[in-house]
Subunit: 285 residues, 2 copies
């Protein structure tokens, strides 16, 4: 692993790493925030709880770290934050042929692609669930319990990855998630290309489908702005609310008047998400 | 004035406006954050205290609003934030002939240029001190007392504009300011081009020169990172410390181990700056 940069922030360290990814067959970059509490000793670093953050379309590992204001809260709560990139990158990684923002580079949709030419590099599901945590645990010696959160495409990632891996993520949260990708233009485009036509494969990557089949292993918190420009066409929030209903009080979807799809919405409520995760992570240790 | 966008943030409104500038002879854009307290009534909007933020080289009106985390604190304290652009822009506005980042577009240095071809558009001093506050007062009906802050080139702007206008700004703060531009490469390049060779004109735009001549009309808070990559060559902090010494306890320069020149430094300490201004603004009303 190559250390790209290290900066002080709220008494902690904001660090970016690059590494050769064996699942994505390219170099990947990810960001880590280490709170001051975890810098005190190797033991405190090893034990500190971790929140993985998955970003949305067009983002990299940096957007959340720059714009969410999460460092302040993580520094208070002693949370480590890990933010991966949103797709494989680099020479040889295929992109949407028209360079569209919603597919290809910056738009890996957190799936393992099965179709050519995407299947060679686009294995973001395995990257998030297997390779990245293994690197964090072995190379950075960060081994505390983990939760997962994300925004938009990353909210879809957090929900589907969290629901499919209750042993690995203590709690799940999402902002403005693409909740029912099998039924929206962004999801249908991405899944058709990455996964082909088999709808059973699609369902493994659809939060609403997963919720309809399984019991709920974790607490879930979802925040959604009512002035979100993608609310009607892309996000499938009514389907999510319906799918969550049968799981009772451990899953909450909160609607917020006036808020849109931007990082100003995330910044306004990230403190509540990190406190939600910190509480559940504390019970897990 | 044209409203470009309005977004909810921390219960307040983040708004961007465009207007024809009579002093810069081009269209200018600025950003405003209105805290929830000021949205309650026309009277509360009119009376709310204001902090003007001046950004650094390469920035626009947006960087501070996106990356500083200031909305959260301003929403708590009831402060209005106003952030202008860092130079005139648009067709016909001349730029550095090599497109350098440290002169021309994005680098107006908060002076009134006297030299061709800059003197036609580059009147950022008059824009910040006269035209922008007049627009804020008359078009937005925001008429509370004001303080001023900024980063790097904007720290230079906040110090020089604040010191020269004690009747207009209740308190002054700066992050990593270019404190002695007449003695650093960034300042010498900008002042030579914008102002010509008259050193008396330069001195009006040099915080250290101003502090050596006048008594101090306001409290000043300056924060500086010790890992700042521009600390030695550009910022002149020792000269600032020397110039402030004779003014006693109302001016503080705090040095912070580990912090660099980035927005992570600003984000880490913006809360203390806004509380500093809120306190002084409260005494002013």
């Amino acid at each position: 692993m190559k250390l790209l940069s290290q900066q002080s922030s709220f008494g902690g360290h904001y660090i970016r790493y690059q590494h050769a990814s064996s699942v994505n067959h390219c170099d990947m970059v990810f960001s880590v925030f280490i709170p001051p509490q975890a810098l005190r000793s190797p033991e405190s670093l090893k034990a500190a709880p971790v929140v993985y953050w998955l970003s949305g379309l067009t983002c990299t590992d940096e957007n959340f770290m720059q714009k969410s204001g999460a460092h302040r809260v993580a520094a208070e709560l002693g949370l480590i934050l890990v933010a991966p990139d949103t797709s494989p990158r680099g020479a040889g990684v295929p992109d949407d042929e028209d360079g569209a923002y919603d597919f290809g580079l910056g738009a890996g949709f957190y799936v393992n692609a099965t179709q050519a030419p995407w299947a060679t590099h686009y294995h973001m599901r395995d990257y998030i669930v297997e390779e990245l945590p293994r690197l964090v645990q072995t190379k950075l010696s960060i081994q505390g319990p983990a939760s997962i959160s994300g925004h938009s495409m990353g909210g879809h990632g957090a929900l589907t990855i969290g629901l499919s891996n209750p042993d690995k993520y203590v709690s799940i949260s999402a902002f403005s998630p693409i909740s029912n990708p099998v039924n929206c233009p962004w999801g249908v485009k991405a899944f058709s290309n990455y996964l082909g036509s088999d709808k059973e494969t699609w369902a493994q990557y659809d939060a609403c489908s997963l919720l309809s089949r399984e019991s709920l292993g974790q607490a879930i918190l979802v925040d959604q702005g009512l002035d979100d420009q993608f609310l009607e066409a892309q996000l499938g929030i009514p389907a999510l609310q319906k799918a969550l209903k049968k799981h009772g009080d451990s899953a909450r979807v909160r609607m917020h008047a006036g808020y849109d799809h931007s990082y100003y919405f995330i910044a306004s409520f990230i403190e509540e998400h990190l406190r939600f995760h910190a509480e559940h992570l504390a019970s897990a240790t």
